[in-house]
C-alpha cells in the first residue's frame, strides 16, 4: 500500500465517509434493539395500563422451565443441524481442494449455487416431497415398496423434517469456508509428512484436519447461530413436535393476547446468547491467528 494514509491530501475525511452508514445502523439497528430492551422491562409499552420498570417478565422467563426447555430444544436441534451439515460438507470440500481437480472452482460453484437461490422455494420443494401423499411416499406406494396404507408419516410435520430441511438449506453454504481453509493448506506439509513415512490417513489426522479446524469451526458457527432462532422452516414442516423457540417469539407477538413484554424478553435472551457465542468465536479466531 502507499504512504501513510493520514497525510494524503484532498481526501474526504473519515467521519464523512463513516457518518452515513454508522448513523443508519445506529438508527435502524441499535435503537430498535434498545427499544426491545425497554419493552422487556416494561419501561415502554404499546398497550394502555400501568407500566413501570420491572424485571417481572425476565424473572418469569428465567424461572420458567417451559421457555428455557424450549430454548434448549432449539439449541439441540441447531447443534444437530450444524454437525450434520459440517460432516456432509467436509468430504466434498476436501475433495475439491485437495484432489487437484482442474475444475475445482466450477464444481464449487455448482455446489454453492443452490444456496444462492430462494430459501422458501427450497423448503417448498421438501414440503412437496415429504408428506403422506407427497412425492416420496407416493413413489414408494407406486413401486410397491410400501403399501399405500402405511406411508412413512414421520417425514413431515416432525422434528426430523425440520432438521432435514435446514441441513439441506445450509450444506452448500458451509462448504465454502471449509474449502477455503483446505485450499490454503500448504501441500508441502503433506509431502513432508509423506517423506516421514506417515500414511495418508495419519497425515490427514495430524496435519490436514487440525489446520482446517478454523474453517470447520467457522462453518459450524455460521450455521449454528442463525439456526437457533429459526422459525420459518419449523412453522412450515415442523408440525407440533417441530415447534421451536423462534416460533414462540413470533407467536407471542402475533397471536392470542398481546404479550409483547414476554416476547421481548425471549428475543433479547436469544440475542444475548448469540452475541456471547459470536464473541467467543471471534476470540477463538483471533487467538488462532496470533499463534
Amino acid at each position: 500500500m502507499g504512504r501513510s494514509q493520514g497525510s494524503l491530501r484532498g481526501h474526504i475525511a473519515t467521519p464523512a465517509l463513516l457518518g452515513l452508514p454508522v448513523a443508519w445502523l445506529i438508527a435502524f439497528f441499535v435503537v430498535p434493539i434498545v427499544i426491545v430492551g425497554l419493552y422487556s422491562v416494561d419501561v415502554y409499552s404499546l398497550f394502555p395500563g400501568a407500566h413501570g420498570f420491572t424485571l417481572g417478565a425476565w424473572h418469569g422467563f428465567l424461572h420458567s422451565s417451559v421457555y428455557l426447555g424450549l430454548f434448549w430444544k432449539s439449541v439441540k436441534m441447531a447443534l444437530i443441524v450444524s454437525a450434520v451439515v459440517v460432516a456432509l460438507a467436509y468430504p466434498v470440500a476436501y475433495y475439491l481442494a485437495l484432489s487437484g481437480t482442474k475444475r475445482k472452482y466450477v464444481l464449487l460453484l455448482v455446489l454453492i449455487a443452490p444456496f444462492l437461490t430462494s430459501y422458501l422455494l427450497r423448503v417448498l420443494a421438501w414440503k412437496v416431497i415429504l408428506g403422506n401423499n407427497g412425492v416420496l411416499n407416493s413413489f414408494l406406494a407406486w413401486t410397491g415398496i410400501r403399501s399405500a396404507n402405511h406411508p412413512l408419516s414421520q417425514l413431515l410435520y416432525s422434528r426430523f423434517a425440520v432438521i432435514l430441511v435446514l441441513a439441506y438449506v445450509w450444506v452448500p453454504f458451509v462448504a465454502l469456508p471449509i474449502f477455503v481453509s483446505l485450499d490454503n493448506l500448504d501441500r508441502r506439509l503433506l509431502e513432508a509428512a509423506s517423506d516421514l513415512y506417515a500414511s495418508r490417513w495419519q497425515a490427514f489426522l495430524r496435519v490436514t484436519f487440525p489446520l482446517s479446524l478454523p474453517g470447520v469451526v467457522a462453518a459450524f458457527f455460521f450455521v449454528f447461530i442463525p439456526t437457533v432462532g429459526e422459525f420459518v422452516t419449523p412453522s412450515l414442516v415442523g408440525g407440533t413436535s417441530g415447534y421451536m423457540y423462534g416460533n414462540q417469539i413470533a407467536d407471542l407477538f402475533s397471536t392470542g393476547f398481546p404479550d409483547w413484554e414476554t416476547g421481548s424478553v425471549l428475543a433479547l435472551f436469544l440475542l444475548g446468547v448469540v452475541a456471547v457465542l459470536t464473541l467467543c468465536f471471534a476470540r477463538f479466531t483471533q487467538a488462532r491467528e496470533a499463534t
Binding site: 452508514p21 445502523l25 427499544i35 426491545v36 437461490t117 430462494s118 495418508r200 447461530i225 407477538f253 440475542l271
Partner: protein, 268 residues
Amino acid sequence: MDVALSRNGRRLLSGFFALLVVFLYAPIAVLLIFSFNDSDIPAFPLSGFTTRWYHQFATNPDLKAALGTSAIVAAISSAGAVALGILASIALARRRFVGKSVVSAVLLAPLVIPYIVFGISLLLFFHATGIPRSLLTVVIGHIVISLPYTILVLVPRLTQIDTGVEEAAYDLGAGPYRTFGLIVLPLILPAVVSAWLIAFTTSFDEYAVASFVVGTRQTFPIYLYSALRFPSNLPQVIAVAVVVLVVSLIVIVGAEIARRFAERRLAA
C-alpha cells in the same frame, strides 16, 4: 503419488461429491417435474404433461404484483446497501482510526442477529416513532441486513488494489470525487456488481424481517409463505418456483463468469 488422496480415496470422495450434488439438486428437479404435471396434487404416479400451471401463474395478478413489489424493494435496498457499503468500505480499507474494531463490529453486527429478533425490534421501533409500516420500512430493514455483506465483498477488493494509481491521480491534482469516479470505481466495479447482486438476492428472498414490517402490499416471499401454509394454489406456486430457481441459477452462473472475465481483464 498423491499425498492427499489415494486412488480409491479419490474415487470414493468424487462419488460422494456426485451424490451430494444429486441430493442438492434433486428437490429442484422434483419441482421441475411436477410443474408440468397435470394434477392438483403433486404425487406419484404422474398424470400427464401440461403447461397450464405456467399459464395460470403468468395471469395471476396477486403473484405478479408480489414479484414486482419484491423487485422494487430489492432494487432500492440493494442500491442503498451498496452506496452505504462503498462509503464504509473505503473508510475501513483505507483509513486508520481510533475505534476501528468497534465500528467494524457495529457495521458487521447485523450478520449475527437472528432475523426474528431484528424483525421484532424494527416493528417496535416503527411503532414507537410512528412510522407506518410500508414498503419503505421493508427497504430500511433490508439495507441493514445487506450492508455487512456488501462490506465483506468490497473491503477485500479495495485492499487488493494498489493505491499507487490513486496517489498518482492526486499528485496530478484530481480531487477525491474525480479520483473515486475515474480511478477507484472502475477498479472495484466487479466487486460492486457482486455486492449489488448479493444485496439484491438477499432482499428478494427475505421473508422473516419483511413479515414483521411490511404494510399492506405483499413481497414475493410473503406471498410464497402464505401459499405454502394455505396451499390451494400449490401447482401454480411450483411453476413460479421453477422459474425463479432457474432464473437465479442462470444469473449466478452468468455473474460469476462475467466477474471472472472482468477481473482477468482488469488484472492484465
